[in-house]
């Protein structure tokens, strides 16, 4: 598995790299009900060249966070507070303060996005080459026709699609190839940061592995920074150095993938990892988490996970836990969790199933 992760580009970047994107205190509300926080006080830092994965179930706010960064929140949603700072090659930009026109310049040229279900986002009546060229011309209108065509064939090359196929229409490509085309489209204007929303979700495992390898190659070659949104913790483990787990609008745990997967400090993360059932004997099903993630307008007070948590105490129902650093003593691992009882923050979870994650196939005890 080591090789699979390295192939996916993991471990390229020293921890000390400068940030490329800083999100601090991002809050997004519904316009109809401004008291309903879809995204609630989210703070995250992405370093240059790094891959950060945001994980969580549908409705946890992960896609809304991505759209807020892109300035693409739909009409019903509104950012009420928080700062989004982009440290680009051409200077630092406060994305939250940019006008529509200024944001359009940043979008695609500096930050681009591979959308969820993107394979169906290609225009069926235009050739794929024309669609990629359109994106380039829109942002670099002074580029000559031959330079644009050259860039299109370069991009197709880069994503592993034969450049002679630029004159084909979307329906002539398979699902995996369409996903490659969407990645080419995202790279069309040479961005520094790519946000990928569930880039492999609709693909079968073999195609998924190929797309993850491609993303890793592109990160290595182009020095891209990556923000990946996914509900699949296994995909995230393969593609990212850092993880942020979201639940009911909040970040509940964040840190390096190795630390979070080996020593989850929030019960929700631990349960999600259990659900992958990676080391269960064949024929055994993991115990599901009881209940469902609450809707944004019906979240429990205090700890939002307490009503589904096997370890919850009265304190969890009355006192909201803060996101606090939980690294073991004497170590700086930048590992944070939002739980009163994180083992490493001195809390003790009663009868916590120790060592829910495994390392190199061995059970490890917390």
């Amino acid at each position: 598995m080591t090789t699979a992760r390295q192939q996916a580009g993991v471990g390229l970047i020293p921890d000390a790299a400068a940030p490329i994107l800083q999100i601090s205190g991002l809050t997004v509300v519904s316009r109809d009900k401004p008291t309903v926080h879809i995204v609630d006080d989210v703070s995250l830092t992405l370093r240059r060249g790094e891959a950060l994965g945001i994980a969580g179930e549908s409705g946890c706010g992960k896609t809304t966070t991505a759209l807020a960064i892109m300035g693409l929140l739909s009409g019903g949603l509104k950012r009420t507070s928080g700062e989004l700072t982009f440290f680009g090659r051409n200077g630092t930009k406060p994305l939250h303060k940019l006008s529509g026109a200024a944001m359009r310049k940043v979008r695609w040229a500096s930050i681009s996005m591979v959308f969820q279900g993107a394979m169906n986002a290609l225009d069926p009546v235009k050739t794929v080459g024309a669609q990629i060229a359109e994106a380039i011309v829109l942002h670099e209108p002074r580029l000559s026709r031959s330079a644009v065509l050259k860039r299109v064939s370069q991009l197709l090359d880069q994503v592993g699609v034969a450049s002679k196929r630029s004159v084909y229409y979307p329906h002539e490509f398979s699902g995996g190839q369409k996903q490659r085309l969407m990645i080419a489209l995202a790279l069309a204007c040479r961005p520094e940061l790519v946000i990928a929303d569930e880039p492999t979700t609709a693909l079968d495992v073999i195609t998924q592995a190929q797309i993850l390898d491609l993303i890793g190659e592109l990160r290595r070659e182009l020095g891209l920074s990556l923000l990946m949104i996914t509900h699949d913790l296994a995909v995230l483990a393969q593609a990212c150095e850092k993880i942020a787990v979201m639940y009911a609008g909040q970040v509940v745990e964040t840190g390096r993938v190795e630390d979070v997967y080996r020593f989850p400090q929030h019960p929700y993360t631990a349960r999600l990892l259990d659900l992958l059932g990676a080391d269960d004997a064949p024929g055994t099903l993991p115990e599901p988490i009881p209940g469902n993630q609450p809707r944004p307008d019906a979240r429990p007070v205090a700890c939002r996970f307490h009503d589904r948590c096997a370890f919850a105490t009265e304190r969890c129902a009355t006192e909201a836990p803060l996101l606090r650093e939980v690294s073991p003593q004497g170590m700086v691992t930048d590992h944070w969790a939002r739980c009163h009882y994180s083992p490493w923050a001195g809390g003790r979870v009663p009868d916590r199933p120790a060592g829910t994650a495994t390392v190199d196939g061995k059970q490890e005890v917390l």
Binding site: R5, V205, T207, A234, Q238, G283
Partner: protein, 278 residues
């Protein structure tokens, strides 16, 4: 109500539930090759046995023919050559009618398999009407409510009056399961039943299926590219590649010691959560 569907077809209970014997399916595709029509071979002489009470996983990537095989087994698609047998009998009109009722199908996307315009109750009892099970009214309602409850949708009366848009993805898939279970089937064919669902919801739906299996001795067939699902749910795995069965055996054996190169590739492609040493 039983009598109406029998019509002289004596299903042999000891024979395999469903059996494919040398099944091939060829699709005519656009264009010609040297003047002759072109065909795409989706299934190439496939033999498959699905025994009563067995949970079988049909595994393969997109285009391997696994969904085509599922449709052939259910009598929804006639094979170009070869034969399907239900309980030892070839699929005649009468056998087909029984098959339709006894073996139910669950699709991948619960957002598409439910009508947005009808209530859960209407949709769960629709199959009862088609197969003329029970009396219209009170009896059918009772069967439908029991099915909702068995699928973990409690209290069923509340769900009965709801519309699909008022439900979560996991609840919708359970409505689909309830609709299938209302007909009292012997078996379910599940085509990627959880791949559109979140991990935690996925576990809930799989647990519902596992409970129904153990309570009612249901036979299950999973059509999936998800090796994790096959590992968690199946007794036996059949690996399809380009319309051929390349490997089959007990789940534990195939996963621990895959023989065919394609199976090895498929297993290696599954991302692991192990993030130990670099």
């Amino acid at each position: 109500m039983e009598g109406s569907v029998h019509e002289g077809s004596a299903i042999d209970e000891s024979a395999p539930l469903l059996e494919a014997v040398g099944v091939s399916v060829r699709y005519r595709v656009r264009g010609r090759h040297r003047g002759a029509a072109r065909y795409l071979t989706a299934l190439d002489g496939v033999n498959l046995t699905w025994r009563e009470g067995e949970t079988l996983a049909l595994v393969g990537e997109s285009g391997s023919g696994k969904s085509t095989l599922g449709r052939v087994l259910l009598g929804l698609l006639p094979p170009t050559s070869g034969q399907v047998k239900y309980g030892g009998l070839p699929i005649t009109k009468a056998v087909e009618r029984k098959l339709r009722r006894d073996v139910q199908l669950i699709f991948q996307d619960p957002y598409q398999s439910l009508s947005p315009r009808s209530t859960v109750g209407t949709q769960v009892s629709a199959g009862l009407e088609i197969h003329e099970i029970g009396e219209r009214g009170v009896e059918r309602t009772a069967i439908g409510l029991a099915a909702l409850s068995a699928a973990g949708l409690n209290p069923p009366e509340v769900y009965w009056r709801r519309y699909p848009h008022q439900l979560s993805g996991g609840e919708r898939q359970r409505v689909v399961i309830a609709g299938a279970m209302a007909l009292g089937p012997r078996a379910l064919v599940c085509d990627e039943p959880v791949s559109a669902l979140d991990v935690s919801v996925r576990a809930q739906v799989l647990n519902v299926l596992a409970t129904l299996r153990s309570q009612r001795g249901l036979s299950l067939l999973f059509i999936t590219h998800d090796v994790r699902l096959a590992r968690q749910m199946s007794d036996r795995i059949v690996v399809l590649y380009r319309g051929n069965v390349v490997e089959e055996g007990s789940t534990a054996t195939v996963l621990a010691d895959p023989q065919h190169d394609y199976t090895k590739r498929l297993l290696a492609a599954v991302p692991s959560v192990r993030v130990g040493s670099r």
